[in-house]
Structures are given as structure tokens and as C-alpha cells.
């Protein structure tokens, strides 16, 4: 571990750390543009100059290019280093437009920050600025090339890190251009990361353009709900509207990036016609009335059919809080069934996959990135869990061979197609990882992995499928298809469930809680509107058994564009905003149990789940395997 001195502060860093990172580790931020932790050094921007006063290297050096070594004495405040940094910023600002007031990046712009940090104020260049034509890059990303400072981050991410081929760098000298051969949507499923990685406003999120400034944002650490990987994100909202989603760093999980499928869909949260008011038989009503109606109908149903004919339905897309509360409702009523999965085969496989994972063999995305052999069995990663495909690409870039059993359409990495698991030389690798789609879980895979000390990663269905599998075991849950097939079930109460099977007409849907308009909701006698994940705190357990906390980002309510202009100015003065009466599902269940005579439950995580109460939303998560 090299020991060096930076601005008179002694610091010890791991082997291979560069001087720029070493300085960051003690809170000294040296301006930089081309260097990025996930992309490494490039040496292109020359903004990170420091003066090496003593040690193995002397003089003015670019700190990102210099591995920290024993005995280095570094000054970041040396006059020559500061003059160099000022020069670099002056050069970059020669052509950068003064359009910060109309630029979406303004306020969260690395170039703004480092221009100030670099000490450049008065521009001496008095000639014409360089201008470019912008390109149409699809409906998600706006392109504004005049702002470009040629740090090459975008092309290094797009081509090298993410394997895209339709975007690159063209031209030379002072007319370098970053774009496509011609206008057209970016093809990479990771294109949205250009928005995050661009240090200024060349690439901005078109779906949130001109909507808010950084200091207006409602935001909080959150977890992506779009697949089972649990990538860390920061959703951004304003005026009760989810505006955009940016990647949040978690080195164990997604690293620095997320996929476009996690970034751009926002309609479920912002939909104007989303369930926002309790309904009884299709008529809007208050929470009190809806809960009273539910109690009455439930009592009537139970008297008529008995408790064994009722099923409580949880969901792999619902938080741990909601799903544990569903189980408590099931216990309270002593209902016949609790169901977390629709299909029995699928449920069996998910449970088998989850049961086979141990703290030693569960592979995180980071384990995949660091693997020296990757085997993929029965999973089209780009379709099912895009970030896992990106993780595999990083392993492949580092030289790990990739073997695929079955279909794989990814172009992110080269692979050897093999007929069966036994054709893969797992034993030759030191850190092999086996990635498996849920539909292909079987004892052969689990045994093969165990024999070869390979880590395992299963792609599950839903952000909390892992949690649902654990709860299924804990409460002896039945897949819904089985419950229905038994013929005993005559009614159900569903929470955020996406049923994949046709419910027989004879089964009553007494109540359904959801934040989305699902087919089940239209059949429900009582509709209970619930909060979207950005409107509440909660916990998801991802595919590797990592429990992660997401925090409330925004107050629920109808986005401003959904308000009736005739209703302005408002005549009704209330504490809740219009459409803001939704509740987190676990709270809805708590209200139901209270109505049924139980004590009010303040914290849904009880018993063995109590340890998740203290989960830090900004930490790496807690393993529950």
C-alpha cells in the first residue's frame, strides 16, 4: 500500500490507485473531466494537473495518469499546477456557449463546478465560437454538441464499456464530433448513461427537458423496480411528477450505470388515470367508507364461505413491507391461502433457486464483473436483466470466456455456444459465475455450481421475487394457480398483484390495492389506491438476496398538468394535494387489520425482518441469504 503526502496530509491508498483518487480519498477534489472511476484514465482533458514536489516523479503531472507511489509529495495548490488547470479551463471555455440559463445541466454541471474550481474567470479569447449541428438521437436523449468539451467520456462508455456501435467520435483537431453517422435513435440499451456521464450538457434527458433545476428536485436514494437486479437509482421529481431517473453508485450492484429500461419509463407513476381514490363498486369514496365496506363484505363472505375459501395475494413487485403485512393479514384471518406467485412451476423454481443461494455462492453484479469465466444458462440477459449483460461484458473485456447454453442474443460480448452445462470448463476457472434464468433452475445447475465452486446468479421475476420466495417458505404459501385449481378458493384480496392466469368467474375479488390500473383492479369490488415506489419508503430484496432500502422521493398527488384548469384557483383548502390520498400498501393492510379489531401496526417489519429496519438506503444493502 503506497504512502504519499498530498497537500501536507499523509495518505495511504491501495496499490494501483492514482494520485487523483488518492486526493479524493482525503476530500481534495482535483478538477477532472475525462477520468471516470468506471472508465479509468484517458489523459485527454489535462485538467487534473498537480505538482510533484518530491519522490519518484517530479514536476507538473496529470494526477489521473500517475499511480500513487511511496514517497510522493504532491501539491495541488502549487502555483504552476493551478496555472495549468486555469489554462485548461480557459481552453475548454473558449468554445463552450454561455447558455447555462437554458441548459438542463445548469446547477448539476461538472464543467460549471470545475470552471469555478479551476479559477478561470475572464475569457481572453475574442474570436468566433465553434458551432456544430445537433443530431436527433431518439425520443430520450437531447444532443447539444456546441456544449461539448471533448472529454471522450461518452464514446468511451458507449463503445468500450457498453459495446455500442452506432455512436462514436468523428472528425479531428478542433472539430471533433461525438454522434452517430446520421440522425436516428441510439441503439444501445444503455444509452441513457450518456446523460449521467457527460460532464456538461451535451446529452440531457429529453423526457425531463426544461422541467426543473437541481435545487428544485425532490430526490432520494432509491432502488430500480423494473427487474430483479435491484440497481441503485436516484429518481428525480418536481410538482408531484416523476421527471427522471439517474444512476446511483453501488459498487457491489450496478456500479455507476443503469439500463434505459430502468431510466426512462415513468408513466406508471405519472399516469393521470392511475388509481388515486378508493372505489366501492366503481364509485369514488373516502378511505373510511371503503374500509368499512371491506369489513362488512369480508365478514359476510367469511360467514358464508368460511376462512378457508379466502386467499390473500402478495406480489414480487411489492416491497418487503407490503408482502410481510399481507402474510400478517393471512395469519390474522387464518385464510386458506397466501399466494405470492401465480404459476406453480415458476414458483417452485424460484423457491429452489433462492434456497440454493448461500452467503458464499450468491453472485453480485460485481462478482460477475470480476469473474474469470461466465456461463449463462437459459437466459436472454439483455431482455431479462440488461445490467447483468453489461456486467458480463465487463468480465469478457477483462478476458473471461463466456459460455452460453441455450438462446442468447446479446451482442455485448463474444461467447461460445455449448449444448450442455457439462461442456463448460468451469473447473479451470478460479472465479467462475453461473447465471441462470428462472425457467431453467434445476438441481443439475445447482450441483454443477457447487462441484466447481462457481458462484450463482439467478434472474428472477420482479424486484422483490427473492423476498416473496422467502416469505413463501416462511408462511407455506401456495401458488395461486394451485389454490384456484383446488376449487376451494371463492374470493381473494390482492395487493399489487399481476396475475398471469385467468381467474374463474366464480371467484370474487373482494378488494385489490394497486398503484397501476391492472385488469384485476377493474374486477375488484373495492379498489384501494396505493403509493408508487417513489412515494414511500420500502425494501426490495434483489436476485442475490441483498435487501436494499428505497426512500420516499416525492409526495403523491396528481401532477400539475393533470389538474383541471377550471379548478384554479382552488376553492377547497386541504392538507393533501389533489390525488394525494394514496397510501403505501403495507399501510393499507395495517388499516384493514385495525378495522378488523387488531392493534395498529406502526412498523411492518417484525420478527426476523426487524433487522431490516435499520437498513441504510445509501449503503451497500444487507444480505439475507
Amino acid at each position: 500500500m503506497p504512502k504519499l503526502i498530498i497537500d501536507n496530509i499523509p495518505v495511504e491508498v491501495p496499490e494501483g490507485t492514482n494520485v487523483l483518487e488518492a486526493a479524493r480519498s482525503i476530500g481534495i477534489v482535483i478538477p477532472h473531466f475525462c477520468w471516470h472511476p468506471a472508465l479509468g484514465r484517458a489523459g485527454a482533458c489535462r485538467a487534473c494537473a498537480v505538482k510533484m514536489l518530491d519522490g519518484p516523479v517530479k514536476g507538473l503531472q496529470m494526477s489521473c495518469m500517475l499511480p500513487a507511489q511511496d514517497g510522493m509529495v504532491v501539491s495541488t495548490t502549487d502555483a504552476e499546477a493551478m496555472a495549468m488547470r486555469r489554462s485548461v479551463i480557459e481552453w475548454l471555455m473558449i468554445n463552450h456557449p454561455h447558455d447555462c440559463p437554458v441548459c438542463d445541466e445548469g446547477g448539476e454541471c461538472q464543467l460549471q463546478d470545475f470552471t469555478i474550481a479551476g479559477g478561470h474567470g475572464i475569457r481572453r479569447y475574442d474570436g468566433r465560437k465553434r458551432t456544430y449541428n445537433n443530431q436527433y438521437l431518439g425520443e430520450f436523449i437531447a444532443h447539444e454538441m456546441n456544449r461539448c468539451i471533448q472529454c471522450y467520456r461518452c464514446v468511451r462508455f458507449y463503445q468500450e464499456y457498453a459495446g455500442g456501435t452506432d455512436f462514436g467520435v468523428m472528425g479531428r483537431a478542433a472539430m471533433v464530433y461525438f454522434g452517430r453517422q446520421s440522425d436516428g435513435p441510439l441503439e444501445s440499451p444503455f444509452s441513457g448513461n450518456l446523460v449521467d456521464i457527460c460532464p456538461t450538457g451535451v446529452f440531457t434527458d429529453k423526457t425531463a427537458r426544461f422541467r426543473a433545476r437541481y435545487w428544485d428536485y425532490d430526490m432520494a436514494p432509491s432502488i430500480c423496480p423494473h427487474c430483479s437486479l435491484g440497481c441503485n437509482i436516484t429518481p428525480v421529481a418536481r410538482y408531484r411528477e416523476l421527471l427522471k431517473v439517474v444512476a446511483r453508485r453501488n459498487d457491489r450492484v450496478n456500479g455507476w450505470f443503469i439500463c434505459d429500461r430502468g431510466r426512462f419509463p415513468k408513466a406508471n407513476v405519472n399516469a393521470l388515470d392511475r388509481p388515486r381514490q378508493p372505489l366501492v363498486d366503481g364509485k369514488a369514496t373516502s378511505w373510511d367508507e371503503a374500509l368499512d365496506a371491506l369489513r362488512e363484505r369480508l365478514n359476510g363472505f367469511l360467514e358464508l364461505n368460511g376462512t378457508q375459501s379466502l386467499a390473500i395475494i402478495g406480489s414480487p413487485r411489492m416491497s418487503m413491507e407490503g408482502n410481510t403485512m399481507a402474510a400478517r393479514l393471512h395469519k390474522l384471518l387464518d385464510t386458506g391461502k397466501i399466494c405470492y406467485f401465480s404459476d406453480s412451476v415458476h414458483a417452485g423454481q424460484t423457491l429452489e433457486a433462492v434456497a440454493s443461494l448461500t452467503p458464499d455462492n450468491a453472485a453480485s453484479q460485481e462478482d460477475v464483473r470480476q469473474a474469470d469465466l461466465v456461463a449463462i444458462v437459459g437466459s436472454d440477459l439483455l431482455a431479462e436483466a440488461p445490467m447483468m449483460a453489461l456486467a458480463v461484458r465487463q468480465a469478457w473485456r477483462n478476458g473471461a470466456p463466456v459460455y452460453v447454453v441455450g438462446e442468447e442474443t446479446s451482442t455485448l460480448f463474444e461467447y461460445v455456444a455449448v449444448a450442455s452445462l457439462s461442456d463448460i470448463p468451469l473447473a479451470e476457472a478460479k472465479h467462475p459465475v453461473l447465471i441462470c434464468g428462472t425457467n431453467h433452475v434445476g438441481s443439475d445447475i445447482i450441483d454443477t455450481a457447487a462441484r466447481n465452486k462457481a458462484k450463482l446468479s439467478f434472474i428472477l421475476d420482479g424486484p422483490n421475487a427473492f423476498g416473496c420466495a422467502l416469505l413463501s417458505q416462511e408462511y407455506g404459501a401456495t401458488p395461486l394457480s394451485e389454490a384456484v385449481a383446488s376449487g376451494k378458493i371463492k374470493g381473494l384480496i390482492s395487493f399489487e398483484s399481476d396475475l398471469t392466469l385467468e381467474l374463474p368467474a366464480g371467484i370474487r375479488v373482494l378488494a385489490a390495492a394497486d398503484c397501476r390500473k391492472t385488469p384485476l383492479l377493474s374486477r375488484a369490488e373495492i379498489v384501494l389506491p396505493s403509493s408508487a415506489w417513489v412515494e414511500m419508503d420500502g425494501t426490495f430484496i434483489n436476485n442475490e438476496g441483498r435487501a436494499q432500502r428505497f426512500k420516499q422521493v416525492m409526495e403523491p398527488g396528481l401532477p400539475i398538468k393533470g389538474l383541471d384548469p377550471a379548478g384554479h384557483p382552488p376553492r377547497l383548502h386541504r392538507n393533501t394535494p389533489p390525488g394525494g390520498e394514496v397510501l403505501p400498501t403495507w399501510r393499507i393492510i395495517a388499516k384493514i387489520t385495525e378495522r378488523l379489531g387488531s392493534e395498529w401496526i406502526e412498523d411492518p417489519l417484525s420478527d426476523q425482518w426487524e433487522r431490516l429496519r435499520e437498513l441504510d438506503a445509501e449503503g451497500e444493502g444487507i444480505s439475507v441469504v
Binding site: 484514465r41 489523459g43 485527454a44 482533458c45 489535462r46 485538467a47 494537473a49 507538473l60 496529470m62 495518469m65 496555472a83 495549468m84 489554462s87 485548461v88 481552453w91 475548454l92 473558449i94 468554445n95 481572453r124 479569447y125 474570436g127 468539451i149 471533448q150 471522450y152 467520435v169 472528425g171 479531428r172 483537431a173 478542433a174 472539430m175 471533433v176
Partner: protein
């Protein structure tokens, strides 16, 4: 005065393979393959004191010695014939007259380095040179000097020509390697140096045409003889000087290394053109600071020229007479470098256009008192660019500030160029 590259009897036409062989061509290769070990050849080059002729003047034998011998996989030799430095045309003259000497030199080098596949990276515009090389390679193959099991020695060599897509930066050895691999010609991070990790990740030596063309003479006549061709005891061998500007004879001459500047201009160049008097010159290609009358006696060898504040570079001498505006000359050169920047690093990509803009203002009489400071800052800061292009581009600007500051200031105080349009 002995010449080994441009033989005295050259006619301006390309030497045929037969003529070259008749004049002792490929004897050095026979000698080496007949009885010298690869190490012997390398040692001879080290002993000769041969320094790279492409501009940097790095000792050739030393460069070869950086190649690790124990790594698996192939090693490569690349001949850098991407001659694009303004004022430099020696490689073109050489290849248009005698491509065979380069092939023999490369064969010897490959033998010394254990290379079995070598490339000649030819500048875009050098069609004739490429054609000559193609013919020469064909003839050499036919005669058994290239191909497999050369002269029964067991040593094999494949030699390929790659014609550049054309940019100055391709002359930078790592950018050249990228260009050869078919990717963007941006320079690579060093270290690792090409000698360790170059073309397709394998150890690669990149040498200039003239450097390699000197190897046959070193092997044929011995390093001591070759070293003695120079004009001073410190220098080694001969050098191609290509002359342009306001002198009578603007040609490429092969002269002993270390010949004083004045002797070159007054001697083979035939002095200044009628009506012209010497004002300044670029001593070694467009990236070297100017020399003036006070440098008349400087021996044109790497170290003495460096000591006098410039660089021998490629030996491309551009002579300016009394009517030359040095601001305009510098502007012209800086425009070239601004255009030829690869666009990778900020100082080069943005700093050079800023300099062009500032020099344009000064030349047009719109300069201000603070403009020389802008030039001075750039001369310093551009040293910290990614590769050697931007520091090289600062050669003339540094020379302008050091030697012609009065002339520069005159532009600003008079509000016009004192030399007119």
C-alpha cells in the same frame, strides 16, 4: 565526402534492383546472415552511435534493446514513412531514388530483433515512393532476400506496405500503430512503450526510413567506419538535409552529421538567392525553434543544436531572408499544427487554435499589449499535452518570442505588419 544513402552518381531516377546489387547492395544482409548473430548486428548498431533520424534523435540500438526477448508471440518492426513535417522531404527523395536500401536495412533490423513480419507505413501522398517500394519488395522476394528461409539461414521475413489514410499525427509512433490497426489515430498512453506493447499488443519497434537505411552501411563497413563519416568526433554518420526557402539550391543533400549550418547554406545550398540576405532558418523541420545569423557556426548535430536552443529534428532546413515576416511564418506553421491536432487532448485541440487566433490578430495589426503573454503562457502550458505534437508546435512560437520579440512588438505598436501584406 562519402555518401551512403544518396550515392554521388544518382541520376534522379530510381535505382533498379540490379544496379543496387551491382553497387554492393544486399552484401550487408549476406554478411549478417552468413556469420553474424542477431546480437552482433544489434551490437554493431549500438557501437555505431546511430541516432533516430525521424526527429527525436533517440539512440537506435538502445531503442532496440528495450524489446523483451522472452515474451511469447510475434514481434514487429514498423518503418515510419509518414513524413509530414513541413520542410521535410528526405524520405521521399531517398525512396524515390533507392528503395532497396530501406528493404535491406529492414531485413537486417528484423534479423537483429527476431521479427518475422514488418510494415512500411507510407504517407498518403507518397504514391511514387510506395510504387517503388512495391517493385523493390517484389524484386527482393524474387532474389530470395525476403520471404521464408532467406539465403538458407532459416530467417524469414514478410514485408508489407501500408499506405496511410493521411494525417500528420500518424507520424507519432503510437498513433501510427493505432492507424495501422485500423482504429482512430490518437496517440496511446505511454508507458507501456511500443517496444514492450505495440502493434496488436506485441513488442514493436518503430524506426524512421533514414534510420533503417543506414543499417546496411553500418553492417557492411563496420560501426567505426560509419561513425567516422561525421564532421565532428561527437557526431556519427551522415544525415540527409532537405533544404527549402530563400537559397539558390533547394535540394536534399547527404552531408556529414555535424556540418556547421553556415557551411551547409554557403556550400551545397549555393548561398542565398540573389537579393536575399539570411535572416533566420528553421534548422530541423517545422517543429524546431528558429536559428539566426548568430547560430551560423553551430554544428548540425543533435546535441550542439539542442545546446543552441533548437533541435536537429528531421534535418529539414527552411531558410528565410530579410523580407520574411517572422510572425507570418510562425502563424503559417501554427495553422498547420492546429489543423493536424488529432483532437484528443485539450491543450493541443483548443490551445493551438487560440494561438492561431492570437497570431492572426497580431499579424493583422489588431494585437494588444497582452497578446505576447498569451503566446508565452501557451509555450509553457502546451508542454503538458498528451503527446509531442503540441510541444513541437511550440518550437517556432518559442523561437519567435525569444529571437524576434522586437518584430512581434512592432506589429502591435504600429498596428500593422511592418513587412506589408
Amino acid at each position: 565526402m562519402t555518401q551512403i544513402l544518396l550515392r554521388q552518381d544518382h541520376t534522379g531516377q530510381c535505382l533498379s534492383f540490379g544496379q543496387y546489387c551491382d553497387a554492393g547492395g544486399f552484401e550487408a544482409l549476406r554478411t549478417a546472415l552468413g556469420g553474424m548473430s542477431p546480437n552482433d548486428v544489434q551490437q554493431a548498431v549500438i557501437d555505431s552511435g546511430l541516432r533516430g533520424r525521424g526527429g527525436a534523435g533517440f539512440p537506435t540500438g538502445k531503442k532496440w534493446s528495450f524489446v523483451p526477448r522472452n515474451l511469447p508471440g510475434p514481434r514487429y518492426l514498423i518503418c515510419n514513412c509518414d513524413e509530414m513535417e513541413p520542410g521535410t522531404y528526405k524520405d521521399r527523395v531517398l525512396l524515390e531514388q533507392n528503395p532497396h536500401i530501406l528493404i535491406e536495412g529492414m531485413a537486417l533490423t528484423c534479423y537483429a530483433l527476431g521479427v518475422e513480419h514488418a510494415f512500411i507505413f507510407v504517407r498518403r501522398g507518397y504514391e511514387q515512393a510506395a510504387a517503388n517500394l512495391r517493385t523493390a519488395i517484389g524484386a527482393a522476394k524474387q532474389a530470395g532476400f525476403l520471404g521464408s528461409d532467406i539465403l538458407g539461414s532459416g530467417f524469414s521475413l514478410q514485408l508489407d506496405i501500408h499506405q496511410s489514410a493521411g494525417r500528420y499525427i500518424c507520424g507519432e509512433e503510437t498513433a501510427l500503430i493505432n492507424a495501422l490497426e485500423g482504429i482512430r489515430a490518437n496517440p496511446r498512453v505511454k508507458p507501456p512503450f511500443p517496444a514492450v506493447k505495440g502493434l496488436w499488443g506485441q513488442p514493436t519497434v518503430v524506426n524512421n526510413v533514414e534510420t533503417l537505411a543506414n543499417i546496411p552501411a553500418i553492417i557492411a563497413h563496420g560501426p567505426t567506419w560509419w561513425k567516422g563519416l561525421a564532421a565532428t568526433p561527437e557526431a556519427a554518420g551522415t544525415k540527409l538535409f532537405c533544404i527549402s526557402g530563400h537559397v539558390r539550391n533547394t535540394e536534399c543533400f547527404e552531408l556529414p552529421l555535424g556540418t556547421p549550418l553556415g557551411k551547409i547554406i554557403d556550400g551545397p545550398c549555393g548561398g542565398m538567392r540573389p537579393g536575399s540576405t539570411f535572416k533566420a532558418c528553421i534548422p530541423g523541420g517545422a517543429s524546431t525553434p528558429y536559428f539566426t545569423r548568430e547560430h551560423w557556426g553551430v554544428a548540425m548535430d543533435f546535441d550542439p543544436v539542442a545546446k543552441a536552443g533548437s533541435r536537429l529534428g528531421t534535418g529539414g532546413i527552411i531558410v528565410f531572408d530579410q523580407n520574411t515576416c517572422m510572425v507570418a511564418a510562425t502563424l503559417n506553421l501554427t495553422r498547420f499544427y492546429a489543423r493536424e491536432s488529432c483532437g484528443w487532448c485539450t491543450p493541443c485541440r483548443e490551445g493551438l487554435p487560440f494561438l492561431v487566433h492570437t497570431l492572426e490578430k497580431i499579424e493583422q495589426g489588431l494585437g494588444t499589449e497582452s497578446d505576447p503573454d498569451i503566446l508565452r503562457e501557451h509555450v509553457h502550458a502546451l508542454n503538458y499535452a498528451f503527446c509531442a505534437l503540441a510541444p513541437g508546435a511550440m518550437g517556432p512560437v518559442e523561437g519567435l518570442l525569444r529571437l524576434f520579440e522586437d518584430e512581434l512588438r512592432e506589429h502591435i505598436t504600429k498596428g500593422r505588419c511592418p513587412f506589408g501584406d
